[in-house]
Symmetry: C2
Subunit: 569 residues, 2 copies
């Protein structure tokens, strides 16, 4: 069997555009001989659609688009496409989520009468009324739905909010081959009592087809391979199965999907793997039994992080029609890396770097910023904030008199004046401000709200300070792109004379990362310091509530995957 | 039977403090003759604990605190207290969430070996391993757990993220009375296939005891009474039951719990209702069969909203140890209302009002602000921003040259300079900035990011512009507290000469509210305007991502109950 792996990128809510992209991919796969085309999870509505699914009109439109797609594909090979489907009825569906008593109904009519403009969820009370599903489109019709059974509700996954667990499905037959359709978490069944893949194989499926929307993190690919190999293994009842795993690619707000769809033969050999972070449509002949693909050696972690963040910036800008970004270039490592990544993502002509020196700025900082901008080819402007700083001192003098020397008020004032200037660029010329906060300082609250914490997209907000250095060095690669002054100077906010960051990052950055991951490393020699850091992390929670969108590249980022109360004892 | 309704306020994560409050309430109820004490849902860990539950050490501490509480209450009447409990084992618990095959095990040991410092959720994959439960504390022991079966996953409720649905329970017998313990959504079973209350009654329960953490919204009380009366009604199999409903009180970040615990006799008559928005411990004799309580007439909606927001401010400040708040008092209605609410919540001595006039500020605005501050008795300071404004024009002149007259850059500059000044107060003197944005302008993006959108707590961010007026008038109550100039002037941001808000709020505010509630009112004469507003709401999503904590008083507020993508087609 020849399977078309359609690793494409769609846009949440853009049903017309997404339909066109799906059609194009199917036609390309058909022309390359595919007998079955497989798309990622939720590819039609875009992933994740989140509370757009609370809008009955949107759900109606997705259902209609699924039917429309089936019609348009009448002369194409069968297609498995990620979409949503209403549960057959509230009562029935919730029950057979447990009992497996009935199959999913693809009806476009929700249960019971519905008034125009009514909506699912504000009834206050009641289970979700949708399934996350694969539709099998065949001969111009929807031949069946295969619903997701295991719904992740951890980290950035909030699926039980919108979806009911689907009842078990039976295999689909495509060209005489019994295939078992699965959706993402269905394959990651290790910790669940149910095993959807095994259930399908016990009913005869010889090929597991898993449609996913699995975001990037450094360990993601090896975890996917682990789970796929676990799911395909021979079992007392059944022989081994091959696996086709099709992952989403592209970025959506904080999430970055890395693609790397793959095929495992029955022996667990990876016989094909699609590119990372790029759209690909490839047709793989499962019968050709090639030698195990010599996968290129995994790139270093820094290269992956770089590619992920570049895609995150590029897709956020493209999908939101942002044509220009601004980076406040301080001469420090964080903003330097953001400028590098933005330039790679959007091209030099879309990036404006702005230096905003104050009286505390080392002239070498601005000079290094200028050299970096020149090396990158981006436009570079200097707006000194000295006159603003002085005006602020005067305007605030009644407030500031008797200020102790340790007071940080005027440091924060400088940071906020810079944000004001940068946002004036945004307001005047259009585009958006990129934020340069790293994860370590966001965790510790070592940043100024409405100051250096401003910016819609936090490019490196999920990189620890150590990651920032290693990705920057990887980017520079000894080319001298990033001036040595930036790479080698001690970290400083330059908000006061002779200021340097009050942290030994080599110890603090990993400690803070453990705290964010609810993984305190108690009992070691630095326990007292860690307690203090943990307290600092707690006190800064209200700042994180107000940050922009942080591109997620770790197991636990700050964003919708972190629901820590601000108020706590 | 005499039941102690313990409507108390606890603090998320403060197990020591919460234990002390629970003990005090039980002793008070015991002294008043209670035979059973009932507390709100999750009262021991504090509600909602959210991702604190991902920390195994915290869960261990909650389990230990539950045992400790039981020991300390050895000589007290039986107590039903909201806490969490680990599922008996992953496999078993998930299965009998469906089959009801086994009861909940209160063991403090998680299933399988656990390494020190390991944690539940970063395994990536797997169902939740906790139940949201009531523990029955009796004679110094935990006599049993009753787990929540229906887990809300809509609006601000994300319970399937942490909790597995519990298997059905059997009634508990207290002083010979078979009681049926329920948790919040268990009573709201109207739209679910399962009916936990009926299941308990069919096993003999004659008294349903529902522990809740149901946040305030205008329709909440009538909905609770509706659901309680529906649950208690006679059924072909079983006679009617009485209902004891104990709700949480107090605020936690965006959530405001309003108390108003109540008792229904078997005929559905409300024989007792505790105060709204206040802690109360009252003992009600169910057998006394009093006449139906003449409930005081429901206060007007404005009075409820005012009381809710006052509690929201007060608890946020108290629980976060914030002793001073700042309000930028513009002479407009929004900040005037925030100042009134803050003063009522925290006392005049905790509030500093700051006027920040620019060249575009009508002198009557600042004068009205001063009169309001005087009337409220709060300290009032004036920091003109003219010199800063002028300095910004100079500093930004290279950017601003050739600015078209419609450009809003300098308007936003003023708003951001004001935020900078207000935050200087916060940094210099301690405390926090209150935000004065209303829901209508937050929805439309009619506000300046890092400017007037700054502030940790958004006091009126869930009031439409029309609500703002009606609550302000209610507050004023004809007393002349709020100057007439403020109450009657046309809404304006005063960022430009002769500027007034470009909206007819009487039409736009309700339209925007419908859009936020995913309830477009298509087909009416203003459809085109509504389409335009809906588009404006979409484009402002990135601003809302960066707002502070918005006190929730409506069915759907901006905050964790709204998960709308920024990027969308």
């Amino acid at each position: 069997m020849r399977v078309g792996l359609c690793q494409i990128d769609t846009r949440v809510g853009d049903l017309t555009g997404n339909t066109a992209r799906i059609l194009a991919a199917v036609r390309a796969a058909r022309d390359a001989g595919a007998q079955l085309c497989v798309f990622p999870e939720l590819v039609l509505p875009g992933v994740p659609p989140r509370d757009l699914l609370d809008d009955e009109d949107f759900v109606d439109a997705v259902v209609a688009a699924t039917h429309g797609l089936a019609e348009k594909l009448a002369t194409c090979p069968p297609v498995l496409v990620g979409t949503v489907v209403r549960v057959a009825s509230t009562q029935a569906a919730s029950r057979h989520a447990c009992t497996g008593g009935r199959s999913v109904d693809g009806s476009s009519t929700p249960p019971g009468p519905r008034e125009p403009g009514s909506f699912t969820r504000l009834r206050y009370g009641g289970p979700p009324l949708l399934h996350n599903a694969l539709a099998l489109l065949e001969a111009g019709k929807i031949a069946g739905y295969f619903g997701k059974r295991l719904l992740p509700g951890y980290d950035v996954f909030h699926e039980p909010r919108w979806f009911a667990p689907a009842p078990p499905s039976s295999p689909a037959h495509v060209d005489g081959v019994p295939i078992g359709p699965l959706l993402c978490e269905d394959l990651w069944s290790e910790n669940y009592p149910d095993d959807p893949g095994l259930d399908l194989r016990q009913q005869g499926a010889r090929l597991l087809v898993c449609a996913s929307a699995s975001p990037y993190r450094p360990a993601a690919l090896s975890a996917r391979l682990h789970h796929a190999r676990r799911a395909q293994r021979a079992h007392p009842d059944v022989g081994p199965a091959a696996v086709v795993y099709v992952n989403a690619v592209g970025a959506q707000d904080e999430l970055i999907f890395d693609g790397r769809s793959f095929v495992l033969d029955e022996d667990g050999r990876c016989i094909s793997m699609l590119a990372a972070f790029e759209e690909r449509v490839e047709v793989i002949d499962l019968k050709a039994a090639p030698e195990e693909v010599r996968l290129p050696p995994a790139p270093p972690r820094e290269a992956e992080l770089r590619a992920a963040l570049v895609l995150g910036i590029r897709d956020f800008a493209r999908k939101n029609r942002v044509h220009r970004v601004y980076v406040g270039l301080s001469g420090g490592i964080d903003s330097a890396l953001v400028a590098c990544l933005a330039t790679e993502a959007l091209g030099a002509s879309a990036v404006t770097a702005v230096a905003l020196p104050s009286r505390h700025t080392d002239p070498r900082s601005t000079e290094a910023a200028r050299r970096l901008a020149t090396n990158l080819g981006v436009s570079f402007e200097v707006t000194p904030i000295e006159t603003l700083h002085a005006a602020a001192e005067t305007a605030l003098s009644p407030l500031l008199q008797r200020a102790p020397s340790t007071d940080t008020t005027l440091e924060n004032v400088q940071a906020r004046l810079r944000a004001m200037v940068l946002m004036a660029y945004v307001n005047r010329r259009g585009g958006m401000l990129l934020n340069s906060s790293n994860k370590t300082e966001l965790a510790l609250g070592y940043g100024t709200l409405y100051g250096d914490m401003a910016g819609t997209l936090c490019v490196i907000g999920d990189l620890t300070k150590l990651d920032v250095y290693s990705v920057a060095r990887h980017f520079d690669d000894g080319r001298g792109l990033i001036p040595r002054f930036i790479l080698e100077r001690p970290p400083t906010a330059e908000l006061r004379e002779h200021q340097v960051d009050p942290f030994d990052y080599s110890r603090v950055a990993p400690a803070v990362e453990s705290i964010l991951q609810t993984r305190p490393r108690a009992g070691d020699e630095h326990e007292e310091e860690e307690q203090r850091l943990a307290q600092q992390v707690r006190l800064a929670e209200h700042k994180r509530w107000q940050t922009g969108i942080i591109l997620k590249v770790s197991d636990r980022a700050i964003g919708t995957g972190r629901m820590i109360p601000v108020t706590r004892g």
